[in-house]
Symmetry: C2
Subunit: 322 residues, 2 copies
């Protein structure tokens, strides 16, 4: 009976084909709290016992990475981008993800292409122990250009009120640690697509060290499993999305504190160097639009610095609070 997925604007035949398959896929990404027996117009999730539960929610899109996903035929991984982006956003509050809902609007994607995208979403949900609680797929042939689609999603997580990451405790001399990004994640694709040439020359290819498709389409990673064991000692987390490293760290800082970032503490990955060179983009704009190699930054007291750097092998210290 469950109408986990809804389809708009498509033929009844296609509906009848897709909805049971969406349901089968979504059942691979579930949790014991999901109530499957009832609920036909919405998803139901029984909240476990919490003392003072705070729900943490975020809606995101993946920008024009969707257009490259179509072009490069990487529809199976674009779902990881949207889910992981959302997971990281609520992780900044210390929240554990509970469930996810997607919005997929298209013109002319085949049934198989739609299923591939939803399967990717479910795979990513599963990896984050998140239930795929529902979604909406809409065919809007008059709105979207033929063959294109847009993908957005909403995540809801939970955290005990006294475990909320409260950035008010951030103080001068605290250390700014970071985990590297693995590419552009989900930001700056409009600029990257304009800047990069269709084909790289030999010199560029050597610098990049991997196919351009691979460098551009790697999925936004989830930092949940890396940071979850250490949330108790973390004073603040900045997910490096649009706005860049300084822009996003600034957003979590208390008044009268600033972040001192030492850009020599990591190397800018070659994909960003290529975008900058071909697009003649200034350093300033590069650091405002792209993550430049930093996926997530988090702030800890000096005395927790060593411990975290030992336990997180890829962790780097990129600066301090002043």
């Amino acid at each position: 009976m469950k109408k986990l997925y809804k389809q708009a604007g498509v033929s009844i035949e296609e509906n009848d084909y897709l909805i049971p398959r969406y349901r089968t896929i979504s059942k691979t990404a579930t949790r014991p709290e999901v109530i499957n027996e009832i609920g036909t117009f919405s998803g139901l999730f029984k909240l476990k016992k919490y003392t003072n539960p705070v729900l943490v929610a975020s809606t995101d899109g993946v920008g024009t990475k969707v257009m490259l996903a179509k072009q490069y035929n990487t529809l199976d991984t674009i779902g990881h981008d949207i889910v992981n982006h959302c997971v990281n956003d609520i992780l900044t509050s210390g929240a554990e993800p509970l469930f996810f809902l997607d919005y997929l609007a298209t013109n002319g994607l085949t049934k198989q292409q739609k299923l591939k995208i939803v399967q990717g979403i479910a795979d990513a949900c599963k990896k984050n122990n998140t239930a795929l609680l529902g979604g909406e797929t809409a065919d809007m042939n008059d709105l979207y250009p033929k063959g294109e689609f847009d993908l957005a999603g909403t995540i809801v997580g939970v955290v005990e009120k006294n475990s909320l990451i409260d950035t008010k405790s951030i103080k001068p001399r605290d250390s700014i640690l970071a985990l590297p990004s693995n590419g552009l994640h989900t930001n700056g694709y409009s600029l990257a697509r304009k800047a990069l040439p269709k084909r790289l020359n030999n010199k560029d290819r050597t610098l990049l060290g991997e196919p351009l498709k691979q460098a551009l389409m790697r999925s936004h990673p989830s930092y949940l499993n890396d940071l979850k064991p250490h949330l108790a000692v973390i004073k603040g987390i900045a997910h490096i999305t649009g706005g860049g490293i300084e822009g996003n760290i600034k957003r979590i800082l208390p008044k009268n504190t600033i972040a001192k970032i030492d850009k020599t503490t990591w190397s800018i990955p070659p994909i960003f160097q290529l975008i900058q060179k071909h697009g003649k983009v200034s350093d300033k704009e590069m650091f405002q639009v792209f993550n430049m190699g930093i996926g997530i930054a988090f702030i800890v007291n000096q005395r927790h610095r060593k411990q975290l750097m030992r336990k997180l092998p890829h962790c780097i210290e990129i600066g301090y609070i002043a």
Copy 2:
């Protein structure tokens, strides 16, 4: 510090202009549970005490009604469509809405147009006592046609487990009651736009009795306040969306029961008659695509029928369970 709204793909100047304004707007649609002081990458909502809280969530779009909203310049009310659609979807489980997040993706909407849409969302949230907890606005000029936009949203509500509407109690001889729709709501716009002529002739205009713009663009209403006082006696609720009256009622029925709908118990509103005539659409397809005058249907035991029909003046009995 709160980053209630995120903007992708737009100039930093526009960002700086819009984000504080989105925040101001969203503060008009809040609830005491919203935690404003912290949370920069997501929205925080402190859940009150419940015995066995079940979270109920739904994601929806408004289909190609967005294209008419642009054309007719009714950007201030399209937010009501998406919010109320979502509110009704979770009402089918007996849930009270808690918070809403929107996704607005555009190419070329002006700042004022974006603010008008978000203001409409906030107004509708407020009317439903729902917090506008966050959202994502993305400019994707390469994906969307110039001047167009898409709008989707996600609602999260809550209901005590023992107050969940459990359709398993539906039995033969139960009465199917309904509240009228006020137009197409958010379904069938792709077909309606194709079927209807640009200008109506005099006879059509007399039949319609109001301007075409008004008939097409009236917002999807919320049935929350109508049905909320009566949820304890309601056995099942079907929100009449894509799939029509029978299609949606069927979804909530237990095995071995069917809905007997008497289509003479209400009159098909003139807008549907015009769409059918100009589009040469069969009766069958009309009833599958459109709500045909019925906004929401709900099932009660015979002995509660009179009481509900007295308390809800617009309520009609459209059939029974067999």
